[in-house]
């Protein structure tokens, strides 16, 4: 699945899956592509688009057992049309809806770059899939035993 397709997919499943048992009966979309910097509604998780980047915002209303709720999405698209970042802004009122929106926000697709193991310090052990790590950990614990 390409990243833009993944995002479209996410938009369609957001009410059905992550917000559990809520049907998007009163969906209203006001997507507004713009290249101008937009004031962030939530300074904690939104930023201004960088040069050549587009910021697209969308607010959705859906019916939940706790009443109508809102959730907002912001996606950043670079000059070649690749989605570079997606942010969910929690706008729900009912506590259960807030919890579910927060849970969804943290599970948005992201890419983990990682760090070289050799650059990490103060590590007691390496966790991972079997076989080679065993040998790696043996070397590590051997060194620690000598301290």
């Amino acid at each position: 699945m390409t990243r833009p397709t993944a995002l479209l997919f996410l938009f369609t499943i957001v009410c059905a899956v992550s917000l559990a048992a809520c049907s998007p009966t009163t969906q209203s979309t006001n997507t507004d592509p713009t290249t101008a910097p937009v004031a962030a509604a939530d300074a904690n998780n939104m930023r201004s688009p960088v040069s050549g980047e587009k910021m697209l915002k969308s607010q959705q209303t859906y019916s939940s057992p706790a009443g109508d709720e809102k959730v907002a999405f912001t996606i950043y698209v670079d000059a070649s049309g690749v989605v570079t970042e997606a942010v969910t802004t929690v706008e729900a009122k009912a506590p259960i809806s807030v919890t579910r929106q927060k849970s969804f926000a943290s599970e948005l697709p992201s890419v983990i770059k990682g760090k070289k193991l050799s650059e990490l310090t103060k590590i007691d052990r390496v966790g991972g899939s079997s076989l080679t790590t065993g040998a790696f950990n043996k070397a590590l614990t051997d060194l620690k035993t000598q301290i």
């Binding site: 699945m1 760090k115 991972g128 899939s129 079997s130 076989l131 080679t132 950990n137 614990t141 035993t145």
Partner: protein, 300 residues
């Protein structure tokens, strides 16, 4: 810090013990401890490894349909396996053993899928009779507990270390582990290997009385097969590249990774919440998903 290593259950094991008073540690009969851990692990392997011809996992390979008594320990493993079978709508099933062997992952390690055997294999049905300490089967069945057997045993070693007077320890078996706190109350810092990239860490986690399990499709793979197999579809799953889970025990963490490997990403959260734990998953397309309660560090 006192550490020792050994090989069992087809992988490398490391035990580390932290003690505030190192001189006290020196007085403890650690050689006796080492022997106990290694002997009991060898015994567990003899009893439950699919690769041991005399094991309880293989005891029904030629059995007739009917109800057969089982040991307390096999019952413990099958009870959890049964709950995972329900959670995954049957995608996880320890009766997968026969399919793994037909695919070539057998005691003689042919690693050559036998198409005839694969076509003829059907999933054996089994159900537990809790009050009778028995299992009812519809014919021959070969059990393979996969990662949850290892997680179970990691926790058992931890209990042994407590009983022997070493309350601050880390038990690791092939990259899965359980860690108490260190003697000074701090956690054990664990780097988490990025699936398929042995020199890269995707993050770190300070374990404190917690278990960690990781699994990926790169190790234990052969041809188009790897060890995440959907028994209903009779083929390896394609959802994820790898995953890591943290829970209150190594056994539970292993249950989470077993379920993640066989579950559609859209139901990760719901499914894992029924076991209990935190997770990070690298999907087949390279994207990452993490649970909202993940409290380790991630290198984005």
């Amino acid at each position: 810090m006192f550490s020792f290593q050994f090989t069992a259950l087809g992988t490398a094991w490391s035990i580390s013990i932290d003690q505030a008073d190192l001189s006290l540690l020196a007085q403890q009969p650690t050689h006796g401890l080492r022997k106990k851990v290694i002997d009991q692990t060898a015994d567990f392997e003899r009893r439950f490894s699919r690769f041991d011809q005399e094991s309880e996992s293989r005891q029904f390979v030629t059995a007739a349909a009917g109800t057969h008594p089982i040991s307390k320990r096999l019952m413990e493993l099958l009870i959890v396996a049964d709950s995972l079978r329900s959670l995954t709508d049957g995608a996880y099933d320890p009766a997968v053993g026969g399919l793994m062997e037909a695919a070539g992952y057998s005691p003689d390690y042919t690693l050559k899928p036998d198409q005839k055997k694969l076509e003829h294999w059907h999933l054996p049905f089994w159900s537990l009779q809790l009050t009778k300490h028995s299992v009812t089967i519809d014919g021959p069945v070969l059990f393979d507990f996969g990662g949850i057997g290892k997680g179970y045993w990691i926790d058992q070693i931890s209990e042994l270390l407590f009983a022997e007077g070493f309350p601050h320890h880390l038990v690791e078996g092939g990259g899965d582990m359980y860690a108490t706190t260190k003697a000074d109350g701090s956690g054990w810092n664990v780097a988490i290997e990025y699936p398929g990239k042995t020199d890269l860490a995707l993050g770190t986690y300070a374990l404190k009385n917690q278990g960690l399990a990781a699994s990926d499709v790169f190790r234990r793979s052969w041809g188009r097969w790897h060890h995440f197999v959907d028994v209903a579809l009779k083929q390896p799953t394609q959802y994820i590249m790898g995953c890591v889970a943290v829970s209150d025990s190594a056994w539970r963490a292993d249950q989470v990774t077993s379920v993640l490997a066989l579950t559609d990403p859209s139901v990760f959260s719901d499914t894992v919440s029924r076991i209990g734990g935190e997770f990070v998953v690298i999907l087949a397309n390279g994207e990452a998903r993490m649970s909202s309660n993940w409290s380790g560090e991630i290198f984005v």
